[in-house]
């Protein structure tokens, strides 16, 4: 009997391995932000922040923040050497023009058609889409980063999203705390699973089409 334990760290660690040096990456607020902590030694990616910078650096020493230097979640940040600042039209020109290689975003629901819902629960949470619709529609590769299950126990990976979409058919990769999936051909294709879970366990507990690919393997991330 395998018991599910939510594990955000493993999601961040697996996503961090997707990138290669020089990739331009936008990490959404929340879980995706953790990815920056797990980039492999020597892999320098360029973090874009949609409020107007490239070269997003780590948080400043507490109390040393600059009121004019924040990330898209209003938290104080720093800029790395070689970074730069620009206005919002330039920022979204970068995003929509396909100059961001990867965006990793949080999830309310993601479905096997690559649809993503992550910005609105009608009647309950209507915060506005911010830059999410642009990031999902514009980035070259979209990574949905999410714990595999809701608190209720239902998988966030669906046959068809029920919530309002952030974008249609744009999600390329899904990384959860049970596995790493590619969205293609109307299914979630399992590329790696995280022990102690197994492909069979994942398929049983996810009401969606999950294909186990020939090269699929157990992840060496523990």
């Amino acid at each position: 009997m395998i018991e599910y334990l939510e594990n955000k760290e493993i999601i961040a660690r697996r996503i961090a391995r997707i990138f290669k040096a020089g990739d331009v990456v936008n990490l959404g607020i929340g879980l995706p932000t953790l990815v920056a902590n797990y980039l492999p030694e020597g892999v320098t990616v360029v973090l874009q922040s949609e409020n107007g910078m490239l070269g997003l650096g780590p948080a400043p020493v507490p109390g040393q923040g600059d009121k004019d230097l924040t990330n898209a979640g209003a938290a104080p940040v720093t800029i790395l050497p070689g970074g730069c600042f620009f206005d919002s039209a330039t920022s979204f020109g970068i995003i929509r023009g396909g100059h961001v290689d990867y965006t990793a975003l949080g999830v309310l629901e993601v479905d096997q058609e690559g649809n993503l819902a992550n910005y609105k629960i009608p009647g309950k949470m209507v915060p506005g889409m911010g830059g999410a619709m642009d990031l999902v529609a514009g980035s070259r590769i979209v990574i949905a980063a999410t714990t595999h299950f809701e608190k209720s126990g239902a998988a966030k990976l669906k046959r068809r999203c029920g919530l309002p979409l952030t974008a249609a058919h744009e999600v390329d990769l899904v990384v959860t705390d049970v596995g790493y999936f590619e969205v293609m051909g109307g299914a979630f294709r399992l590329l790696e699973w995280f022990a102690p879970y197994t492909p069979e366990w994942i398929r049983e507990r996810t009401d969606a089409d999950i294909e186990v690919m020939s090269g699929c393997r157990r992840s060496d991330i523990e």
Partner: protein
């Protein structure tokens, strides 16, 4: 270049009239013209339409607030056009209660729509929002085998913006991520008022590094001066 007038925040607020469309720079309060906004709050002008990235941060019960949040809470806006209201629960409450009309626009689309107003475009085509509620009621244009949403310009009556530095002619430089929507708002409004922290003489800003050219700016307000 000719110097432009330097006015106080109250005089700036007095230029905003009931019913006007107001473009305000800032991203969750970072880069908003706090002095002018405080004066506009004090003045209480109502019936405004707000165009801003977000409705800033509103901490009820004495929590941290910034940017346009207090003006939203005081019901000075009858209409809000923004990409995000998630950090201002009062905006959501007013929207749900039908007290304030809130139009949510994807952030990049908002940026392009404001830029289009400033740059004299009749509209722009974008894929952002296709297949989502953001496409509802929008015109669609097919180019080759692709469908795009037609997004229209968003001009304003008055822009309230914040810059780090101005020369007396009104050339502006912003600071770090406090730049955000400020240059766009400056391009799209009939009247532009910039709150600045530093004032230098004409010729002291490097012409290679002007973020907003003087011709867009009508008035300067010194930040931190009552």
């Amino acid at each position: 270049m000719n110097p432009i007038p330097i006015i106080d925040a109250s005089s700036a607020a007095a230029l905003v009239e009931e019913g006007m469309t107001l473009h305000v720079g800032g991203f969750l309060g970072c880069g908003s013209p706090d002095g002018i906004l405080a004066a506009l709050l004090a003045r209480g002008t109502r019936g405004l339409t707000l165009v801003c990235n977000d409705t800033a941060i509103w901490g009820a019960k004495g929590g941290r607030s910034n940017g346009v949040a207090a003006l939203v809470a005081k019901r000075q806006f009858s209409r809000v056009i923004a990409s995000h209201i998630g950090t201002n629960p009062e905006t959501q409450r007013q929207m749900n209660a039908g007290e304030t009309e809130v139009v949510l626009v994807p952030q990049g689309t908002l940026a392009e729509r404001v830029r289009a107003a400033g740059a004299g475009l009749g509209g722009v085509l974008t894929a952002t929002g296709l297949g989502t509620e953001a496409a509802d009621g929008k015109g669609k244009v097919t180019v080759g085998d692709r469908v795009f949403l037609l997004e229209l310009p968003l001009p304003g009556d008055v822009a309230l913006i914040k810059a780090k530095r101005a020369d007396r002619a009104g050339n502006l430089q912003y600071s770090k991520t406090a730049r955000n929507f400020n240059p766009l708002m400056a391009s799209a409004c009939a009247l532009v008022i910039a709150e600045v922290e530093e004032l230098v003489e004409i010729g002291e800003i490097d012409p290679e590094h002007v973020h907003t050219p003087s011709i867009f700016v009508d008035y300067l307000v010194m930040a931190g001066v009552k």
